[in-house]
Symmetry: C2
Subunit: 464 residues, 2 copies
């Protein structure tokens, strides 16, 4: 007897045709008639269910089976039968069908439509619905595609630290990590919190980015990437913000902004292609029930050469557009989502890199351009979302970097290791960050970040 | 002109033979003679350096080049020349050689032997040494092998949460995550810390394991795995403990302890094979300079069927051994590293699974055996290390799990979502955890966990 999973059967039905197999899974639906019944069985390995046919004349426990509820776990031994006229090319005729795990009537996931808000409260069970089966399988595939993409190109994977004493990036609010007793905080003579008594002997936080450490590895291994969790303690309760999310940050030595853009474009196309090829059923489902433009939009991305424009040109286009933007368009202001979407959706109708932003609105480590006003930054804007990737060529010139750090008050002593990377064999280098959940949202069409994270963490919410 | 990296050249030298290429990298060594000189160039893409030959009669800046120090970054244009009699089958004859980034004389990474302790202080530069080039490339390969192994078997990758309000596992001390102002902690009327004012509205910590959440996904997708950071705030300053480390936790529905052991054995062999095949130079280096038994030991693992023994049998063998153990051998005590190593090194001379431990020394979620005294736990012990994997079949019987939780005082209400997994279509399921750094140490022969983590976090140490 072949013990198999649904994916094996669907992918290679001919191998099992007219043979007996054993298969286990959960009942999505059970319809019984007088002499026989049908179970739609899902075992989680494939988006689709398979049909189990059970007959009264064959199964001693027919009456019992007919009462198995949705959500129950069963194991079936049966023959794989070709069904040329049916929707699915085969079904399983049960020889034996036993209950593995019962499911009481109060099961929250009934075979009907549930709201996404309701299912968020049921994050431990929602993966059993079609929608979340599809979302989390695509999430897994996107992750694998990313590793595969970089591995094929010889990029080394680096785990940058999660706990950090380094807050130089200043990218938003951070979470404190501590083992101090909050009811008995030690205080120094000067009246400050005495972090010397904390676990690490200093003040520590959760990382907001692995970039600075990734730079250190790029200057040894040339091409590297990180893929790990990052954190923001921002009190913003929006559909696009989570306190805990994953980021991918490639970093390349001997690479300038142009190389950086090429990599980002190649990566986006690779991921989309991989998912379309490896999750056909799931993508069809999203296109039908979540966003009817989804596949068009993704195929458009795969087949277009991304556009490129400077920030200064973008401001000019936005000013000329006469669109009634909510936020003012002025050289020196950051672009808002409405501006970003206008550029990618109305002007270019495809992804567009905006480069060379004013230095004042970008991070200290971005490379100063010759105009002394802009830096070699790049943001990738995509239709439907706006910014999905942010990156830059890094400032490799020690004196210019030091000057910039002084200007904005970054402690050079604490960052001496980062300056060492410029001092000792420093070279031009570039990298970017892709928010993993943003990418998953983009590819699935889901519009709330809480619905693409297994157990989301947002302000006032840390369940399971 | 072909812009290439060292790995391309070494892997496919024939393609570039007698052609001009451009290559960038860092000088490991520079020896000049009167009329010509030799640079050993490494660009991080391959363990090996390649030889650059520069000639006075060809290069206007010969005198300058001769002074380039180790650590400097250069770009070379040159012809790839076959060198049949030399150690490496080719060298590059420079037509042009320019400095990309200077390296001053105080460069800490000189071409000589540095102690590992010294290099730990230089974690931002140590990847430029042979030893750490090798360690971190193998680390990257092990990570990829793990993803590939599970992907090929249809396991879904799940990101379980890093910040958690759940401390039910009780696996050691946890780090608190908070945005409360430590100088002004809010206190409730009852005199407790008022966590309702914290970011998540409750007390939160860094996760020690993603297992419980992975179980929820296994009961929807059948076969899943996690691969993410986990944390222990233990005040133990040993060569084997870090405060932050990565874990792999597969979880399978419809799988018992035997399936679990099969997966663990297959995974270990797969990873080792992948690294031996894809990091031949690095493994040769470790075998020569780190541990002369390394390759033998790993090949022994690949080629042996792992042994299996119950805890009760193990205690009997240890008692009969008459070895002068430091810790007493008594049924009911946990096995210590000395016992574990004795079993795998002296008794079995290969990896051995010890199963069926007393329930008192194992976690609440492990499945109670019929003897009512032991649980379906498994630890994999390997020669040279001791325990490398710990896992179990999980208790799927709701009433028995509830009873066990009551016995040891776990709040059932807080864990109701976990109990739901038994209530609604619960089935037998199993999984294990592999400490990623332990695996990297085992495969590289490195004996300090600080030397296999890019930027290690240990008690009193959180640098970079």
């Amino acid at each position: 007897m072949n013990k198999i999973v649904v994916r094996q059967l669907i992918n290679n039905f001919n191998k099992y045709k007219n043979k007996e197999v054993q298969i286990s899974g959960w009942i999505r639906n059970n319809r019984d008639q007088k002499e026989f019944g049908f179970i739609a069985l899902n075992d989680g390995t494939h988006f689709n269910t398979i049909q189990i046919v059970y007959e009264k004349k064959k199964l001693y426990n027919f009456e019992e089976i007919a009462k198995f509820r949705a959500g129950s776990a069963i194991t079936v031994n049966g023959i794989v039968i070709e069904t040329p006229s049916a929707k699915q090319p085969f079904e399983i005729k049960a020889n034996k069908l036993i209950l593995e795990g019962d499911c009481p009537e109060d099961y929250p996931i009934q075979p009907k439509r549930h709201s996404r808000e309701f299912l968020r409260e049921m994050a431990h069970l929602r993966s059993r619905t079609n929608l979340f089966t599809a979302v989390f399988r695509v999430r897994s595939l996107v992750a694998y595609a990313i590793h595969k993409f970089f591995e094929e190109r010889g990029f080394m994977y680096v785990h940058t630290p999660i706990i950090t004493a380094n807050d130089a990036e200043g990218a938003g609010e951070m979470f404190r990590v501590t083992t101090l007793d909050l009811k008995n905080i030690p205080i120094t003579k000067e009246g400050a919190v005495d972090y010397s008594q904390d676990f690490f002997g200093k003040s520590t936080n959760l990382t907001v980015s692995g970039q600075l450490e990734a730079e250190s590895f790029a200057l040894a291994f040339r091409n590297v990437y990180t893929f790990g969790p990052t954190f923001r303690a921002e009190n913003s309760n929006t559909a696009r913000h989570a306190a805990e999310f994953w980021m991918i940050e490639p970093e390349m030595a001997f690479a300038d902004l142009k190389d950086n853009m090429m990599l980002a474009e190649e990566m986006m196309k690779y991921i989309i292609k991989y998912v379309l090829e490896n999750a056909a059923e799931e993508m069809e489902f999203f296109n039908k029930f979540v966003d009817r433009e989804l596949k068009n939009r993704l195929e458009n991305i795969m087949n277009s050469k991304f556009a490129q424009i400077t920030y200064t040109e973008a401001i000019k286009l936005l000013k000329e557009s006469k669109e009634p933007f909510e936020y003012p368009v002025e050289w020196g202001n950051d672009l808002q989502t409405e501006h970003e979407r206008y550029l990618s959706e109305k002007v270019f109708k495809k992804p567009v890199f905006v480069i060379d932003y004013p230095k004042e609105i970008k991070a200290f480590y971005m490379r100063l351009n010759e105009d002394n006003k802009t830096v070699a930054a790049m943001d990738l804007l995509v239709p439907g979302v706006g910014e999905i990737i942010g990156g830059s060529q890094r400032e490799e010139r020690l004196n210019i970097l030091e000057k910039r750090m002084e200007e904005i008050g970054i402690n050079k002593k604490e960052m001496s290791w980062y300056l060492d990377l410029r001092k000792y064999g420093g070279v031009k280098h570039s990298g970017y960050g892709l928010g993993f959940e943003r990418a998953v949202m983009y590819i699935t069409g889901m519009n709330n970040i809480r619905d693409v994270i297994p157990f989301p963490r947002t302000v006032h919410s840390c369940e399971f």
